[in-house]
Structure formats: structure tokens, C-alpha cells
Point group: C2
């Protein structure tokens, strides 16, 4: 997989994030890619579903678990507009997804919201003794304005 591919998929997650914001949710989107092809997508639905656990990656992992065989998950890459939080990192771990590529880093996004919850997902995977590969940030400067608009 080339960096160009990563950029194209991250731009798609930003588009999903913008669409989520347009629906009144928070600006987060995620994709599942298998062999270079997008097989599933999801976005944040915490406001429209009145459920704070409905982060983009949680929605994606749930959908993937319900609709794809485990062997597809084991060959997949999860692309997400923002570095996964602790909850979503745990979901990726349980799902056996071997690679995560994120757009904006957790510290950069937390700073926009004035929040203190930034935890590096690489650190969480490490504590789980997981070998999940993490790539990112990718095109962070293109993604942060989505959060600045939401934080206003």
C-alpha cells in the first residue's frame, strides 16, 4: 500500500466526518478496506442515536463483526479520520483488525476541543500486547478544520 492510497482513503474518512457533522453528529468517519477496496464505512452517530458509545470506529467494528467473516477482518485495514480513543482501540483489538491508519492525531484533536482525554492508540495497543500496526497522522492539516468548525 502506498502513501498515496492512504491519503485517498483518509480523504474519504474526512468526507464521512463532514457528512456526520451535517447530520448533527460529531465529525468523525471510518472505513474498512480489504485488498485495496472499501468494504464498509461508518460515521459518528452519538447525537442522532443518543448514545455516546457510537463513535465512528465502534459503529464500523460492530458492522464488520456482524457482516464479515473473521478472516476478512484479519486481512483488513481500518482508516479513521481521527486517532481512535481508548474505547475504539479496544474494539479494534477485539476485532482482530491488524492495521489502523488515522488522519488527525488524538492530541491535536483534543487540543481543538480543550480536552484532556488524548491517549496515543499505539500506547494502548502496546499495553494490550497487540501487534496491530498503526500509521498516522496522515493529512492532519486537512482534517483539523472539521474539528475547529465543530468546536466553535
Amino acid at each position: 500500500m502506498t502513501d498515496t492510497d492512504h491519503a485517498a482513503f483518509i480523504r474519504l474518512t474526512y468526507q464521512l466526518a463532514a457528512e456526520a457533522a451535517g447530520r448533527g453528529d460529531d465529525p468523525f468517519g471510518a472505513l474498512l478496506v480489504v485488498e485495496g477496496r472499501v468494504v464498509l464505512s461508518a460515521a459518528n452517530t452519538i447525537h442522532t442515536e443518543h448514545d455516546l458509545t457510537r463513535h465512528a470506529e465502534m459503529n464500523l467494528v460492530s458492522l464488520a463483526a456482524r457482516t464479515l467473516p473473521a478472516e476478512a477482518l484479519a486481512r483488513s485495514t481500518l482508516y479513521t479520520s481521527t486517532e481512535p480513543c481508548v474505547m475504539c482501540t479496544g474494539a479494534v483489538f477485539w476485532a482482530g483488525i491488524p492495521r489502523v491508519v488515522f488522519g488527525c492525531s488524538a492530541p491535536a484533536v483534543a487540543q481543538v476541543y480543550g480536552a484532556t482525554w488524548a491517549v496515543a492508540c499505539r500506547e494502548t495497543f502496546g499495553r494490550l500486547r497487540s501487534s496491530v500496526e498503526v500509521v498516522g497522522p496522515v493529512l492532519e492539516a486537512e482534517g483539523l478544520p472539521l474539528h475547529r468548525a465543530a468546536g466553535d
Copy 2:
């Protein structure tokens, strides 16, 4: 809240865990208690829902978010049969639940399953700079047989 109350609620989570196992799910159960009263309960449904994210605490937090006002969550205690995993710890954090009481510790349960994913939830809350109070293990010896039976 006395230690006796904790024991009674933890025994209820073990009962929920046993019922989950009876349905073909994994032996985990959780309760939400507000002012000494059980207001919600949930159990693991990962097999019956074909969704590995459906841990007892995730189901409970989702249900709580959808059905209770935030101010009730802010006065609640989550009781769970086993120390919450990283995913569920994150969900508790996002929910603003101020206290967790667990039965069996993550290391003890991981050992039963021969697994390496044990992470202390106190450590995760600490990394999130959260002030969630954690109590446990409570009656661990009464809970571990549920896992030994499932691990066989």
C-alpha cells in the same frame, strides 16, 4: 455504601453472567446502581448478536445513554462481574459514570483463558486523567468458577 452492599450487587452480576453463559454467550454481567437501587442491567451478547463489541459493560453503557439523563449517570455506580477491558473502560469514561465496582480482576480472568489482554482499568482511567473511583476485586473466588466453566 458498605462492603455488604457491594457484595450483594456483585453477586447479582455473577447471576447475570451465569445467565449469559446459559444463552451461549460469555459469562459477563453488569448493573447500573443509582442511590442504592438497580436501575439497569446487561450481559454479554457477543455470540447471540454476532458482535464482539457487545460486552456486558458496553451493552449497559449504551442502554444507560439511551434511556437515562446524564445527571443520573453522574450519580451512578457500575457493577461488573469482571474488571472492565480497555474498550469498556473507555465507554465508562465517556459516559461520565463516576464509580466502578468489579468482581473478578482482569489478570485473574485472563489467566483462566490463557490470554494476554489483561490491563488494569485503574491504569486506563489514569491515562485518561479521569477521576473515576474503582473498587475491586470483590468476591473474586465466587466469580472465577464461571470463567473456568466457560474456558473448559
